[in-house]
């Protein structure tokens, strides 16, 4: 894991409760997290907008399979 990726993942987990509640890592399959739902998708979109000024669509977030995919989307 590189530092930038770590930092993005850490910041994302701080804002998205579905990622923080479980011992989720970059390779965790999002669909296996109990709180990975439509609310979690909204929290990711909010994080992207507030932290990076980026507008993500729900489809983009839902298409992510793992935490690493989410970080890649934010990068």
């Amino acid at each position: 894991m590189n530092t930038a990726e770590e930092q993005r993942w850490s910041a994302l987990r701080a804002d998205v409760d579905a990622l923080a509640a479980a011992p989720a890592g970059l390779d965790t399959v999002l669909g296996q997290l109990p709180q990975w739902d439509s609310l979690a998708v909204l929290l990711v979109i909010t994080h992207a907008e507030q932290t990076y000024g980026r507008a993500l669509t729900g489809a983009q977030v839902r298409a992510c399979r793992t935490g690493r995919d989410l970080v890649a989307l934010l990068s």
């Binding site: 609310l39 909204l42 979109i45 909010t46 507008a55």
Partner: protein, 358 residues
């Protein structure tokens, strides 16, 4: 579009809600859902208690109650009524429209014009612009604006993403011609390219209901609905709101020549706490100036939510003194409307539930 209208004044407001209480957490627990998961959604989205219409009660009934109470409390303005505008997505019938039915129910004079505006959560601001336009330039002395929906009935009970959101209410707003008042500034907008982000796909002329029952289907998250149910793509609605609402608020404030310290309250459509806190933060308004607890008491009331927030959160100020308001509605269409205006003192009646029929 931008509109600035002088010589208009808000004379009164009244809101009637549905009488039945729905409790998000209690109902989820009764259905066997996880307590922590329910509390998480309740806390983040603001889903607690909502008031919905009883069987047989419609948006027309809710608005008729609010309108009758308001007109009785403001006899001078009521005597000068020249038009009725009804904003709804849940009319009693495809034809005739709700405004004409209300006209008949209130026994208004034949000289009083009546028409509907087909909008949802952005509709009160659009209706207010229409009412103000009629008073400022249309020869109207007073206009009754009714706005309400019964969206709690438009959703599928097995669609957990949409069904718990809505409360039912009808609002009556009285706008009068007053040469000493105004100006009111409006910004209205639409994005029809994304019209299907909030939709009831079937049941209209394009896809009429057939002779058989609706066919229900589950989406990827297990939410069940049929083509006659209201569906919202929550993530896309949220994106739309984050993009358009702060821009519309900034535009209308610039049109009015106001900055944040000039404004007493930013009153947005009470969609849910998550949306309101995100948009309020982006607009640079302190939370104390941005009412956002209405959805936890009433649910998302569609076009009645802004007048309900005005009455419930700013009633004391509006009854007693001039108050600078920026309001913004946003929703189906996709559409949005923002208004910057000074209101008060004005008549605000208590928000009450529509009694159950005996």
């Amino acid at each position: 579009m931008q509109t600035t209208l002088a010589a208009v004044r808000l004379a009164g407001l009244a809101v009637t809600t549905g009488p039945l209480v729905r409790d998000f957490v209690a109902e989820g627990l009764a259905a066997g859902q996880d307590a922590a998961a329910l509390e998480r959604v309740a806390r983040t989205v603001g889903l607690r208690r909502r008031l919905v219409a009883a069987p047989g009660q419609t948006a027309l009934d809710l608005c008729a109650d609010a309108a009758a109470r308001l007109l009785a409390a403001t006899p001078e303005a009521a005597g000068r009524l020249d038009a009725v505008i009804f904003v709804t997505q849940t009319p009693d019938h495809a034809q005739p429209n709700n405004a004409n039915l209300l006209h008949g129910r209130l026994r208004l004079a034949r000289t009083v014009a009546a028409y509907d505006v087909s909008l949802g959560c952005s509709g009160w601001v659009h209706g207010l612009q229409q009412a103000a336009l009629l008073c400022a330039h249309g020869g109207a002395r007073a206009v009754l604006l009714c706005a309400g929906d019964t969206l709690s009935r438009a959703t599928n009970p097995r669609d957990r993403a949409t069904d718990p959101l809505f409360g039912d209410a009808g609002a009556a707003t009285l706008v009068v011609r007053d040469d000493t008042a105004g100006p009111w500034c409006f910004v209205l907008g639409a994005d029809g390219s994304r019209a299907r982000v909030i939709e009831v796909p079937a049941g209209g002329a394009r896809a009429p209901r057939g002779p058989g029952p609706w066919v229900e289907r589950a989406d990827a998250e297990g939410n069940v609905r049929h083509p006659g149910d209201l569906h919202m793509d929550g993530a896309e609605v949220f994106n739309f709101t984050l993009r358009e609402v702060p821009a519309a608020i900034a535009e209308v404030m610039a049109l009015a020549g106001w900055t944040e310290p000039d404004v007493d309250a930013l009153v947005m459509h009470q969609a849910n706490r998550f949306v309101l806190s995100s948009v309020g933060r982006k607009c640079g308004f302190p939370a104390a100036k941005t009412p956002m607890d209405l959805v936890e008491r009433f649910g998302n009331q569609s076009s009645a939510s802004i007048p309900c927030a005005l009455a419930e959160s700013l009633g004391a100020e509006l009854r007693s003194r001039p108050t600078r308001i920026v309001a913004c509605g946003f929703g189906v269409g996709l559409s949005w409307g923002a208004v910057a205006f000074t209101a008060g003192p004005l008549t605000i009646l208590p928000t009450v539930p529509l009694p159950l029929s005996p």
